[in-house]
Symmetry: C2
Subunit: 322 residues, 2 copies
């Protein structure tokens, strides 16, 4: 069994598309993947979180649970398993069980954590013992085959953990950060398409280039100031910068009524700051709060109609569990 | 009797302090001031809206209604009357009655409208017939004696009406605008100090100059884009720009829970856009809505806890009523 962490974007979503820096944090919510050898040569995958399971055998797929969507949901996991099988050159079958408490498709990097934990578990099972760099490379390739030209943020953070500064032109740099960053993650439960939101920002930039370019740069400066605050462990400044970042995301039109409700509830409950995280338009928000206040913030978010959990930074990337 | 209009800041509050343009609109809510000669040489002022009345006679003030705050409230009106008396060189007394439906001290320019309408009424009473330019100059001097170095926005718009573009270094330029700009003004009822809010923005700019300067410039660009939309009569674009402007005001920290509530209620009720107007931190917001939707927007704002009224652009500045 192997595990890998989920992530939140602390600063810079959307602005990162235009070359500005983003700050990404691995959180202590993990995906667990366990792998067993099979008697036959098929691949069996069971994902509790996706509510699907099924068998891949050559070009055939047999759904066990999850109906019509099962194939599309399990295909990326199959792809990860097959990459490792190809590397090992062994003619064996593998069963993979994936468990997780991370909500899927809400911008928390669940897919990448599934991919990296599966890659690690299967490679250990087949005595390959891939390095983190090798796992990252395979996970990145898998993401690229699904998403075209992704930023690589999700596979990177789920592989290496910690806090990362990302810039499109310069890649990743690990950041030193105060040990404990007490967050509350609130899920609006409102579905959205990150691709559509990215496209809407693009349209708005074409329509109002002079306005949007200044906002985007302000977003970049906010992320850089946040790096300083992280290094100092200044949670109060970090919260204020989150509020600024959130307002800039409102300005480019990617917030949503449901997010505003949770963000304001969290602030009213005493959070240092709160913002949407990820694509916006629904999905998740995060609040930074003093450890003594996280419970109150969770309660406030739930009262405002969201579902919430407490999360902290983790420095543990993908790892073998046993 | 003379009257003068209230105003709303459509775009650019706060950013205007840093040299960016502001767009200001006279609205069809007016202050009415009527003046009569008195037998004695005292000045009697009765202001329904301020809930005060009293007599000024030389260095003496006798309160009739309004208690301890009466003097401070009536002093600016007395000052306007005395300026006209000094110009006329007549040794007479004057009674002034001021009526208005404009809420006071919420950023709608009520004080300037009181000053300009009083100046016009008293000058007509004393056969001075001051020009608009002369009325403006006197009202501006009166504002300066109270506020130090004001922008001059309020006395300008209440004197000349219409829509004005204002820049600190370049002064005022009248703007051509679509005849009908259907607005709803919502009052949160939350008191705030514009001076304190301006100071808090100043502090934030000292703390985060790199972020704030980009936001301020984005605010300036938003106002300039709004000028184009006003010229075309493109209410939909104007609403979108109001939403952007509001988010930028959130980013610099001058919104307030009460404003957010009314702004979102107005948008949900179908407004093209909505934003705080004036200093923020409470006070008023404005929503731009299609004429067929203003009633619904009024209702939504009132349901959200505000008080609201419909307003339109007026080209009528200060004027003699009869």
């Amino acid at each position: 069994m192997a595990s890998a962490p989920a992530k939140v974007i602390l600063f810079g979503e959307h602005f990162v598309v235009y070359g500005e820096p983003a700050v990404v944090l691995a959180i202590d919510k993990r995906v667990y993947a366990s792998a067993r050898l099979r008697e036959d040569e098929s691949i069996y995958i069971n994902s509790t979180e996706l509510g699907t399971s099924g068998y891949f055998s050559g070009n055939y797929f047999r759904v066990e649970r999850g109906g019509k969507e099962a194939l599309a949901k399990l295909e990326p996991i199959r792809s990860a398993v097959e990459q490792v099988l190809a590397l090992s050159k062994k003619k064996v079958g593998v069963s993979v069980e994936v468990h997780s408490s991370i909500p899927v498709a809400v911008g928390l990097g669940s897919s990448a954590a599934v991919a990296t934990s599966t890659l690690a578990a299967v490679s250990r099972l087949l005595d390959l013992n891939l390095s983190k760099d090798e796992i990252f490379r395979l996970a990145y390739e898998a993401e690229r085959s699904v998403h075209g030209t992704p930023s690589g943020i999700d596979p990177t953070i789920s592989t290496y953990g910690g806090v990362l500064l990302f810039r499109r032109e310069r890649g990743f740099a690990p950041l030193d950060a105060e040990a404990d960053i007490p967050l509350v993650v609130g899920n609006t439960g409102v579905e959205r398409s990150t691709g559509e939101l990215v496209a809407s920002v693009h349209r708005k930039r074409e329509q109002y280039p002079s306005i949007m370019d200044w906002i985007i740069r302000a977003g970049g400066k906010t992320a850089l100031k946040a790096v300083e605050a992280l290094k100092k462990g200044d949670l109060s400044a970090l919260g204020e910068l989150m509020n600024i970042n959130h307002a800039l995301l409102c300005a480019i039109g990617v917030s949503h009524k449901s997010l505003e409700k949770l963000v304001h509830a969290a602030r009213d409950a005493g959070a240092y700051g709160a913002k949407l995280t990820g694509g916006g338009g629904g999905g998740c928000m995060i609040a930074l709060a003093h450890a003594s206040k996280v419970d109150r913030v969770v309660e406030a978010i739930e009262l405002a109609g969201g579902t919430a959990f407490i999360a902290k930074k983790t420095d543990e990337g993908v790892r073998i569990e046993r």
